[in-house]
């Protein structure tokens, strides 16, 4: 468990080190952190919106072996 939190400490250290020396590679590194944060946040946002809009029964309605019928109804 301690090692797990160490991972997030490493993230913080990485961001701090990137901001401290904004060389070319430092800037690239910073952009990587920013992009990761934006996309991560977007996934969490979309996850929340999706869970709010659809019922749990519908979201977990997938059944092994029933995909053929579902595919026929879906327009590609």
């Amino acid at each position: 468990m301690l090692e797990y939190f160490q991972g997030f400490v490493n993230i913080y250290e990485g961001v701090r080190a990137s901001l401290a020396s904004l060389t070319f590679w430092g800037s690239i590194s910073f952009l990587c952190w920013a992009l990761s944060a934006i996309l991560g946040a977007w996934m969490l946002y979309d996850w929340g919106v999706t869970d709010g809009r659809y019922s749990e029964a519908e979201l977990t309605s997938s059944r092994e072996g029933e995909i053929e019928a579902a595919t026929e109804k879906h327009k590609l």
Partner: protein, 463 residues
């Protein structure tokens, strides 16, 4: 779709059948090709350059057996989860639970290894003091998770392009060094001699098996697309076999070029054999090409691993082997979005705290456990449902020879792993035993036993 959600009876939301054989190829080769850019060469450290070639062939035989066996069973059990669904129908729930864990561990640890490779390669290329690889690990894992979240078709279209480019880089390197004319650039006859070909004898060849796995590790991942290909009976065998042929060629070319440019003592310890080969040609264009080849191969591998690990996890949830919460499918993107996002921080945490050797060792161990299962699985499959009793999309030849070869090679590989990573092997086996006890005595009570078997097959022989 929103209208459908508003209606009184909830609509079915399933994964989409949108993939073709090229996507299956991209998934399988994409996961594996990174092994040509790093990893296989450690077999030279264990047994010399010739040992690396011998294991290239012998492990190639192991994986050809894997591909044939997998193609037959998967073309019949076409469901997400791949080998998990196979194990569930052919062996039983406890085996299936273990196989799913092998899959999730193998692919997540391989994804972690790929991300570490991307980060380390960029840091090495940048050659800048104080540059940390963590940002590159994070962006690799998060961007690819995002891609997977948004849909399987785009994910595997991207994988097809970047895998093809990485493969092309190997071909360009091969033809750029005049392979038909030893002595022009290549010096195989000077670097691999009867005196140094097998420096540790045949025990070195056995020890090299562990790293020979890298040439092909992950080709069996094609089966995870079973529920999303338009024609599983045709696409899966075709994509998997084409992928295996592609990899056998890539492995042979890679060994030939690298063993002809580097002494085995260096080849066995470098993290970048093909990138180093590019540098050693003295051509900066080739050096840059192999740098990008390494990056693209690692990204393609991580991308395929996220796809496969998420589907195995999703399948466990769908059968209530884990909470059904994990079996949610995104109504718009038709992906197992909760499984993808759930595995994301786990991959990040391992990427930040573990090193490349640890991560890949756990991946290889889980992979070999899975191959051992496959050899037993096909025997049971043919015994319970002999040819002619159910429809098969593909029937592999020479049964039971591939299964026996696969089992023997797995046993040799266990011995090789035990020589190098005995404690990790023991720890992993203990982990799977504890997980099995938990599943048998606690979790299985939540499983709807009749619902989990979905194949419309006749009763097996002898039942």
């Amino acid at each position: 779709m929103v209208d459908a959600a508003m209606s009184s009876s909830p609509a079915k939301v399933s994964l989409l059948r949108v993939l073709g054989p090229a996507h299956v190829w991209a998934l399988g080769v994409g996961i594996v090709l990174v092994g040509e850019f790093t990893g296989w060469n450690f077999s030279a450290d264990k047994g010399g350059a010739l040992a690396a070639l011998i294991v290239c062939w012998v492990i190639g035989l192991l994986y050809t057996s894997v591909a044939m066996i997998d193609s037959e069973v998967t073309s019949t059990v076409a469901a997400a989860g791949g080998q998990y669904a196979q194990a569930k129908h052919i062996v039983g729930p406890l085996m299936a639970f273990n196989v799913a864990l092998y899959l999730v561990f193998a692919y997540t640890m391989l994804e972690v290894s790929d991300a570490i490779l991307v980060g380390d390669t960029i840091v090495s290329y940048a050659a800048t003091d104080g540059l940390n690889h963590n940002a590159f690990l994070a962006v690799t894992i998060v961007v690819l998770a995002f891609l997977n979240y948004r849909g399987v078709l785009m994910t595997l279209n991207v994988n097809f392009v970047i895998t093809a480019l990485a493969y092309l880089s190997i071909l360009i390197l091969f033809f750029s060094v005049s392979p038909w004319s030893q002595g022009t650039v290549l010096r195989l006859n000077e670097l691999v001699t009867p005196q140094n070909a097998l420096p540790y004898g045949w025990i070195g060849v056995i020890a090299a098996f562990q790293f020979g796995i890298w040439y092909y590790l992950g080709i069996e991942g094609t089966t995870q697309a079973a529920e999303e290909v338009r024609s599983p009976a045709r696409s899966l065998p075709y994509g998997t076999m084409a992928g295996m042929i592609t990899l056998l060629i890539a492995a042979a070319l890679t060994w030939y070029v690298c063993a002809s440019l580097m002494p085995w003592e260096y080849l066995g310890i470098t993290y970048y054999p093909l990138w180093d080969a590019g540098k050693l040609t003295g051509n900066p264009l080739l050096a840059n090409l192999m740098f990008w080849g390494t990056i693209l191969a690692a990204v393609a591998s991580a991308n395929g691993c996220i796809n496969d690990a998420a589907r195995a996890w999703f399948s466990l949830g769908r059968d209530r082997y884990l909470p059904t919460w994990f079996s949610a499918v995104h109504p718009k993107y038709r992906t197992p979005y909760r499984s993808i996002v759930f595995l994301l921080p786990i991959a990040l945490a391992f990427a930040f705290i573990s090193d490349l050797n640890q991560a890949i060792t756990f991946s290889i161990l889980s992979g070999v456990l899975q191959y051992t299962f496959m050899s037993i699985n096909i025997m049971m499959f043919r015994n319970k449902w002999p040819l002619g009793t159910i429809r098969r999309g593909y029937t592999h030849p020479f049964h039971p020879l591939p299964a026996i070869v696969l089992l023997i090679l797995c046993i040799i590989t266990y011995f090789a792993i035990f020589l190098g990573f005995g404690s990790q092997l023991t720890a992993m086996v203990v982990f799977y035993m504890v997980a099995s006890i938990w599943f048998h005595f606690y979790r299985y009570r939540y499983v709807r036993r009749g619902d989990q078997f979905t194949m419309p097959w006749p009763k097996p022989q002898g039942y």
